[in-house]
Amino acid sequence: MAQAQVPEYVRVVEELFSKYKEFIYVGKYIQRWDAVSKITGKALFTADFLKFYKDPVYVYTVRPKYAHAYIKSIDTTEAERYPGVIKVLTAKDIPGVNDVGYVIPDQPLLADKKVRYIADPIALIVAEDKYVAAEAAELVHVEYEPLPVITDPLEVVDLKTLKEKEHVRIHEERESDIISHFKIRKGDVEKAIKEADVVVENEYRTGMQEHAYLEPEAAIAIPEADGGVTIIASTQCPFDVRKAVARVLGVTQNKVRVIVPAIGGGFGGKEDVVNEIGAKAALAAYYTGRPAVVIHTREESMIGHSKRHPMVAWYRHAAKKDGTLLAVEANIVLDTGAYASLGPFVAWRAIVHSTGPYKVPNARVDTLAVYTNNVYAGAFRGFGNPQVTFAFELQMDALAEELGMDPVDLRLKNILREGDRTVHGQLLTKEHGVGLEETLKRAIEVIDWYRKRKEYSEFAEGTLRKGIGLALLWHGNSIGVEGADYSSATIIINRDGTVTFRTGLTDFGQGAVWGLVLIAAEILGVPPQLFRIEPPDTSSTPDAGPTVASRSTVMGGAATMNAAYKLRKRINELAANMLGCSPDEIVIRAPEKEDVKPSDVEVFCKSDPSKKVKWTDVVEQSFWDGVPLQEFGFFRAPKAEWDEETGQGAPYVTYTFGTMVAEVTVDIETGAVKVDRMVTAYDIGKVINRVGAELHAEGGAIQGLGYALMEEIVHDKNGVVRTYNLSNYYTPLIDDIPDEIIPIWVESGFKRGPFGAKGLGEPSIVAIAPAIVNAINHATKHRFTQIPLTPERIYLGLKRAGKIKL
């Protein structure tokens, strides 16, 4: 009945999902398009373009001495006299709007009244040389009126009452320093808790994680003759940069062109900060008429771009004796630092996932994001979900312990299966693909869970203890109610039979765009090697929405399908004419070889393969016949539903599911942890880019291990960042990785995903930390509730609990 309302572009995806059972390119090991250029050092990243611009100016940002202060005056005269300095820019030099806030306009590009964190930009030095620029920054004299610094979000809000406390306001221009408050209200929590056999209640804390992508942020702005500017930038979201730069310069968006070359990692971090540095470079280009460069040093990157929101949360779970969950209650506070960035969206994603992939009949959850004077927090792989998953998965283990149940059995009792409703009341059907149970069952089988759990529980000699723990996850695909959820792609078949692929989605290492090419190749029959991916360029690639939220494969893939489908239809008709069979019978096939050429590709009739022509002949014919061989594909997700008061609705089109298992060895005398083995079992609907998927499972686990055990941006009480380079901010190195990570893929099939696919980019980090910490808790027979769980925290925790004597 609803069939009539299904838009054409959704129908195409559904049709192809049911039609394709066997695949030539999708799900196969195929080398990404840029691998050779990257290993030979030829791939050009943003800063590399500098070698082509002989006379650039360098832009360096003047940052404050205080994390919270009024600015009384800014004196730039001495800096301007410094040899080699061309200009010093402050807020008054901004021709357009002095704001780069991502979700709400709360973030000046250049502060003039107040600074709110230790790296808040005050002025820009534009100089002939990067050393000169940095030196001159010391000569900008700013008079401050220091304010008390808030680094603990619980100074802003009370965790129990969720009321704003008396404090020195960080954003006086707003009503409150609480930027968002989301709610879930379902059933009768009070009653459920009264009736429960077991109630567990705990407080959890997660740390501020740094993306530490290996390529620091960079942008080069080249002035154009018409007053516009071209920007080469390491950004995940070129269209957002364009919008921000146009606003700051006060020009129309068509005068700003943003080109994205190779990107050395993003993980969500190269979103808003690149709007900021893109605008800085553009301003300098505007004032000097010369190419202008902003390349962050690692230190500037560490203090000057968004981070993962730290979380403080109070959780209460109630269950029956048999383990059936009755209620979940939670107060969740996210520290968004000095500016909102994507904080409101992060808080929303956090609350949607806050009760876990379980049947929860009664729930009361409040999630707040609040300002502090810490470095601002924004998007980071997982986007609020790793934080809450850490909390609810530790709660599940605490509950299992109280009940005397095995953690696996407790989860099996409560997990979401097909036909169940989520806490928001969303019915999960076969169309969503609900493979959570299969991920759990396969993961514990591979690792031999029950035997090891028992064996490690009983062992208590010496200082080395083993533990095994697990954590489950769900992750809503794409952006839900965070914004218009669309994507697009263009496919152009060239006259020589090669293919040009364009999308505004970016690749920062994850390889999702390559997945799109595999989808197009599968439908067209033309091998991926014959495709060329053009770099995102706001002047030629269509706006495909932001490359965030694990949406590239699902949204971009569906858009790609639409473009490829339309092209294939036309080609089939043309070839049918040439060969004298029906269009449905046309097969396009390439021989399997690495250096395949367009003329190797054959087009033939299924019933009579002797009727064949070369792909290149069909393409040539299409030019003579005037059959267009370029197509634009578009896809939009159905509107997400969310009731602000109750959190009821259908927040996401579908969910990726997963089960992570970790085995650890803990030295209880030193607190040192070795993660021995991990299993990562994901239901991603359908594996499209197999290489990319495997790399994600490994890379996400390793980054998650860092989140669990070692990574934390630390501010002192004055808001000064103590971990400002890779020497004091530790990320996993080659010695830290588990001996093995065993990937498992469950392909449940999402009817409205390309060939059934769901996203993996973010899910790959979501449940790693709770799996590891549950394993450590198992090994130490202690209940640690904070990450990063450093050796020091383990040692002190065990010592305070009297579990070790030293």
Partner: protein, 177 residues
Amino acid sequence: MAFDPSKSWDTYPDIEITLNVNGKNYKVKVKPYERLIDVLRYKLGFTGVKEGCGRGECGACVVLMDGELVPSCLVLAVRANGKKIITVEGLAPEGKLHAVQKAFLDTFAVQCGFCFPGFAIAIKHLLDKNPNPSEEEIKEALSGNLCRCGSYYRLIKAAKLASEYVRQGKIYFDVKR
């Protein structure tokens, strides 16, 4: 107030040095404060040398200097005068791949790729000294290189595979695509 380009702002002297990069000699004028990495990247165009931290902590910028592994971000250009330098661009003749690079492809190791020039050089350095390294020796040799995308397993595998290629005398491979 505007800057007058006719006035020289940089009073440091230019020093002419000679660098042999990837087998070719370059005469280049540098300032006494200039780092080798900047000269290689911006004056000579070897942008395969990447900067990840500028403090010797990430390994993205490593090059071979007279056969030794050095982070080019910590070397002043003047100190490299007269030295032989190998960057990732010089691992194989144009149009060929070095065994290490071939192994990266065979193990499907590449993600964002920013770390690969550094890993390529570090593995090449290891194999020059020890053509048959154990897993422990590989990890040790690569412990100064950060790969944030987390390709470590494949980098270890690739190092092993490259050592096999080298021991079989297969140093250079054709690029297929």
